[in-house]
Every structure is written in C-alpha cells, then in structure tokens.
C-alpha cells in the first residue's frame, strides 16, 4: 500500500512547490474588472506588461458586485475597476480603496436584437408590444438598474420575460434568437460582432453608467497598482476604451 500512497502524495504536492518557484523572477499584478471591460482590459494588460519588464498582469473578470464581495472576503486584488459607482461605493465604504476612485469610462444602454431583427424592433416603445420577448438584467446589477431608470425616464412600462444576472446572459438569450430583444450596453453590442444587431436608444442618453477604477488598499503591489490605474485613466486607456465603444468620463 505504501508503494501506492507515496507517489500519490508526491504528485499532489509537486504543483504546490512548482508554483512557489515560479514567483521568484516575475511579479504578478492582479486586476479585478467588470465583465464589460474584458476585451479592453486584456489589451491594456498586454500593454502594461510590455512597458513593465518582468510583470505579469493577471485579470479576473466578473460581475462588479461579485468582485467586490470577493475582495471583501480577502481576494488578492491589486486593482479594481467597477461598472458603476454604486458598486465601487461598497468597496470604499469598507475602507478597501487606496485613495479616491477615478472615473475612466462611461457606457449607455442600447437595444440588442437577433441578426435580421425578426420582431422588427425600432425603438423603446416596440419593446412593450405584446408578443415581444424582452430580456433585461435583474434590477440588482448595474445594467438592470440602468434599464429600470431608462424605462422610468421614458414613462414606459417594461415587462421582460427574464431578468438575467449579467449582460452576457442577456446577450446569449438574444444571439440564440430565444429573445426578440435585450437591453445591454453599447459596448456589448459592439463586442458581440455579428451575433446581434444594435438598435439605438436615444432615451438612454440620460442614464449614463460611469466606470470607476481604484488601487485596492493593502495591495501586494501598490506601486504597480497605481501605475496600472494611471495607464487606464491616461491617453492609452482612453484610446483602447474608445475603440471598444466606451464614452469619455
């Protein structure tokens, strides 16, 4: 039996030692960012690595609220970028932000429809027509809160068939043609390419989501964290985010 157990223990322990050894020559900067920032931050991470020798940028994307909860529970984040200020406020309220968060981008809602727009949606009013299956984000998440605000400002009563937990879930329901329309961010429609079509939503211009970023208090790499925030709020960040459809703060 011992013959069998020993190699097993060694096999289990090996990856642990390998991990420790690798950390010697590179420094890792961990960035937590809202899902809608995925492609932009991947590009900015590459840029940052190119400018900083021996630095490895590790990106973790998710719903802003989820990420804050993870940081509150001790996740090793150096930088946090949120999709709205309300969620960022949860982090600052806990004293977990090193300095004041800086706004770096804005985003507004747009209607996403399946390719070919089968339900013939032309604007916000069409979403309330009977027989039109509308999918939105749940009011608890930033994109859902924005949808509620847009509908309220326009005096429209939306009755969605589903309230999803994230923009990605809404997009998936629309791109598969399961839903006739979904309310997502302009950048999501752009990022989805040919999978969905965007219908402009003038009513949404009054409801602007502002994205703040901050270095996390107690970060393992405070200097690098500040550098990364500088990169995002600076000209490079602006250009990359602008390409993805984000508006200036």
């Amino acid at each position: 039996m011992r013959k069998l157990v020993l190699p097993l223990v060694v096999a289990l322990a090996l990856p642990l030692t390998a991990c420790g050894g690798g950390a010697d020559d590179t420094t890792t900067l961990t960035v937590y960012a809202a899902s809608s920032l995925t492609s932009s931050f991947e590009r900015l991470g590459k840029r940052f690595e190119a400018e900083h020798d021996g630095v490895d940028v590790r990106l973790s994307f998710g719903g802003s609220s989820d990420l804050v909860t993870q940081i509150q529970e001790g996740a090793p984040a150096d930088v946090f970028a949120s999709a709205d200020t309300a969620t960022m406020d949860r982090l600052t309220a806990d004293g977990l932000a090193a300095g004041d968060p800086q706004a770096f981008a804005t985003n507004t809602l747009e209607i996403a429809v399946p390719p070919g727009n089968p339900a013939g949606i032309t604007g916000l009013r069409d979403l309330t027509k009977p027989g039109v299956d509308l999918v939105v984000c749940a009011p608890e998440v930033p994109c859902g809160a924005a949808a509620v605000a847009v509908a309220k400002d326009a005096g429209v009563d939306l009755s969605p068939v589903s309230e999803e937990q994230s923009v990605t879930d809404v997009l998936a329901k629309v791109s598969t043609g399961e839903a006739d329309a979904g309310l997502v961010y302009v950048t999501d429609v752009l990022g989805a390419g040919d999978d969905v079509e965007g219908i402009e939503l003038p009513e949404a211009s009054s409801v602007v989501n502002t994205y703040p970023i901050v270095a996390v208090e107690g970060a393992a790499q405070p200097g690098l964290a500040r550098d990364f925030v500088e990169l995002v709020v600076g000209a490079t960040g602006r250009a990359v985010l602008g390409d993805a459809g984000f508006g200036p703060p």
């Binding site: 989820d66 909860t69 068939v161 589903s162 309230e163 999803e164 937990q165 043609g177 399961e178």
Partner: protein, 259 residues
Amino acid sequence: MIPRWVYLPAALGAGLVILPLAGLASRVAWGDFLGLVTSDSALTALSLSLRTSLTSTLLCVLLGVPMALVLARTEFPGQGVVRSLVLLPLVLPPVVGGIALLYTFGRRGLLGTELDLLGVQVAFSTTAVVLAQTFVSLPFLVVSLEGALRSAGRRYEVVAASLGAAPTTVLRRVTIPMVLPGLVSGAVLAFARSLGEFGATITFAGSLEGTTRTLPLYIYNLRVTDPDAAVAMSLVLVVVAVGVIGLASQGPRERRSMP
C-alpha cells in the same frame, strides 16, 4: 479491520464536506432568519421550486420506470450504448444540458418550428424549468430503479407468469411492489436533484420571479444585494437536502431486509 492511517485522509475528506456547511451556518443572521426566509420573494421562489420539482419527479417516474424496465428486463443490440446515453445527464455539466435543451426546444431549436405551430412557447416558461429539471433528474431514478430490478431478480415474476398472470398483472402485482423501496429512493433523489437544479435552468429557462426563478436562481440573484438573505435561503436548502438524504437512505435498508 482497516489500517489506522486511513482515518487521516478520511477525516480530511469529511472535513472538506462538513466545514463549508459550518462556514455557511456561521454567517447566518439568526435574528432576522425567520423574516428573511418568509419574505414574499423567498416564498414565491420556494413555492415555484416545490411545484416544479414535484412535477418533474412525477415525469421522472412516468418516464423512468418504463426506461428502467426496458434496460433491466430486456436485451437488445446496442443496449449498452443506450444506457450510457440515458445516464449522460448524470455526468454532463448542467449548463451544457441547458444549451442542448435550448437548441432542441428553443424557438430556433430542432423542434422549435413544430412547437411554434402548436402554439407552444417553451423558453422563459415554467415548462422550461420542469423540462430542465426532468432532464437532469431522470437518470437518478433510472439508475436506482434498474439496480433494484436487477438485484430483485426474475424468480417471482417467472412464477407469477407460470401461474397464468398476464405481463401487465405481473408488473403491477409483483415487480413494482418488489422494487418499491428502490423506486421511492430513486424518486426522492430525483426530487432533490430537481430542487437543486441551477445551470440548465438559468441557461434554458431564464430568471423571472414567479415563473422561472426557482430557489437556487433566487439565491444566486440575492447573494449580490442581500448576502444575509442568500445565506438564510441556502441554509433552508441544506436542511431540505439533509431531510431528503435521510429519506433516500431508508429505501435500500428496507430492500435489504426483504426476503
């Protein structure tokens, strides 16, 4: 008569299962517990979960009993392949099941046009929740019943048939009563699996209060805005799960005591 060192990994394994439950319990806001688990949304989600899980358990029995009979009592070429396919949802990630259901029963799915002609829209409806739950739970009933059928053997059935009982009578009067404990524990497991179903539901059915937002989806939503309520509802599900396991483990014990 086991080597003493076995206790160490065994205890570690038990800790891995039990500690998170203790962690969950440690976060429960006991003062508000009752208020949190009896809020309107919580009760709506709970009632939807119970109704859909009971319906899908019924469907599992209606479809699963014949399936188990065919697998345990007949022989046909390709039976092994059929059995593997039927058991696939056991090991399939539920989200994959959800995508598969979407491309089958969804509006643009395999059967979408036919269902549309019949005026049936499955997506975003409670029907979709039941379909997803039945899909993931069916193998639990089939596995458990097929095992019971095989271990019960055919002796009594053969005797009953030789005494002139028609096949349906044998099934009704001999086979089913004989494997009833296995059937019950299979049904209880299917119910538990339905109650916990999340991945296929959120992928296929969506999430809307009162229609498709079952308890697990409700907890998933809630953890963002009201972690206390999410923890409280999680504990409710843990208690239900413990009860279900207690019920299910009764089944095999009774079967073993049968002649």
